[in-house]
């Protein structure tokens, strides 16, 4: 990964946590149905959106991700009945908190995409990618950001 900088051909790097039963299957369906969507997303499959720990999301921003998407089953469809419902409260608070502290609102996004919504998955990814592209490279928490890599007088 190169140092995130203002280079012209910068492409946003987005990390997506997809729940295995719905959103991951939706992404699969988008692929098998040859639906085109931006290639900026790298997927991590999780058993349930409830498995995603805020630690993972903020750590992703820290390691240089320009955007993070967490996508799970629609409320009521969760394979584990309530995983996404617990997650919804956690993410609601996390997103408002990060925004309050000054992280740009588009950086961390949440969506519900079911296994049959291949098209919907492509829409969500396109929307997130464009939002993050508009925001530019992530600097605020990114350990690789220019401002932090500059040799610091550490004493």
């Amino acid at each position: 990964m190169s140092i995130a900088g203002e280079s012209t051909n910068w492409e946003p790097k987005i990390l997506a946590f997809l729940c295995n039963w719905c959103s991951y299957a939706g992404a699969d369906l988008a692929g098998t149905s040859r639906i085109q969507y931006p290639p900026n997303v790298r997927v991590i499959r999780v058993p349930c959106s409830g498995r995603v720990n805020p630690l993972h999301i903020v750590s992703a921003l820290r390691q240089g991700a320009d955007g993070v998407l967490v996508s799970g089953c629609h409320p009521g469809d969760c394979h584990y009945l309530s995983g996404n419902l617990y997650a919804r409260r956690r993410f609601a608070l996390l997103q408002r908190y990060l925004t309050y502290l000054g992280i740009e609102p588009g950086r961390v996004q949440f969506s519900w995409v079911s296994a049959s919504e291949g098209g919907r998955f492509a829409e969500v990814v396109t929307e997130v990618t464009e939002a993050v592209r508009a925001l530019g490279p992530a600097k605020r928490l990114n350990v690789r950001a220019e401002s932090i890599v500059a040799p610091m007088e550490l004493s």
């Binding site: 190169s2 350990v143 690789r144 890599v149 550490l154 004493s155």
Partner: protein, 358 residues
Amino acid sequence: MTLSCEAPVVAGMISRQALEEALGGWMQSWRVIAPVRQDGEVRFQPLDEPAAVAWDYANAKHSAKGVYLPQVERLLTYARTRDDLNQVKATDPPAGPTMLFGLRPCDARARLMVDQVMVDGVCRDRYYAARRDGTVVVGLACEHPRSTCFCGAFDSGPYDATGSDILLRSAGDMYLVDVVTERGAELAKDLALEPVDDEHSQRAEQAQAKAEGALRPMERLVGIEAALEGLWDDPLWQEISAKCLACGTCTYLCPTCHCFAVEDRALGDGGERVRAWDSCMYAGFTAHASGHNPRPDQASRWRQRVMHKFSYLPENVDAYGCVGCGRCVVSCPVNLDIRQVLARVWAAARTQAEESAL
């Protein structure tokens, strides 16, 4: 046993104004670090203009340790490639001499103790040595010790010249200049000194007597290592550490605490290996990868803190790991006062002696 130096020689006296002029000159050839008051707090910082020296400060909350042992110091930088996982380049410690101006006697002594561990010990720490060898100290005797100062307990005091190359002693409108080392003598040549008249030398003596008198009486600590001998399993460690929050503030602010961690930090395509202050108050300090921890609780960590300062360091470097500056007393969030801990040590040793005498 404690750090000491030959008796200093009075070279003359000088006004504060003349000293500030000399400082202007010194700032050309030294990076001068002095106590500077900034938004209500005094810190040791590079001096940008001589008038900024906070002459009448009690003692800075943070010791000057950050100058000779920075909180984070970059040891190596590395590039990360697939096959060569040791493409490293050592960073060069900052060359250029440093002048520690206005250091209180306790901080000056503390630095000498850390020198013995970091440089005169078995192996030589190149980064620390470079900073030390280039440093000269102009000490400022302490006219107003605080209620938490206990330098007197080590047979030292607010006018102890140990660790300074020059010690300034206030005499009202003038400062007496004591030369302590050859380097101090060299430095004194840059000062427009006047001979010391009786009036000022008397005033300085009175100020010294007043300062030494202001120290809170406390049981002498020299020799406490003997008292610590039989106390390994004494319940006092459990009791004193019950309220400790294990936050390590005492070790961060302590001018003699020198323990550090070595960490790798990824930065862009490469990274850096840094040394950063660490604390024996943290569980991770001694935790093994297997999960075993020889110091599993706060009582064993507090025992290590006291034993290291008052038993192991005297045995290994012939100096206590404490100079009585009182910073840990002032800044502890739960006011766990090391003076009370040491009083408990003396008391426990006495009861033990009485019991064994029965």
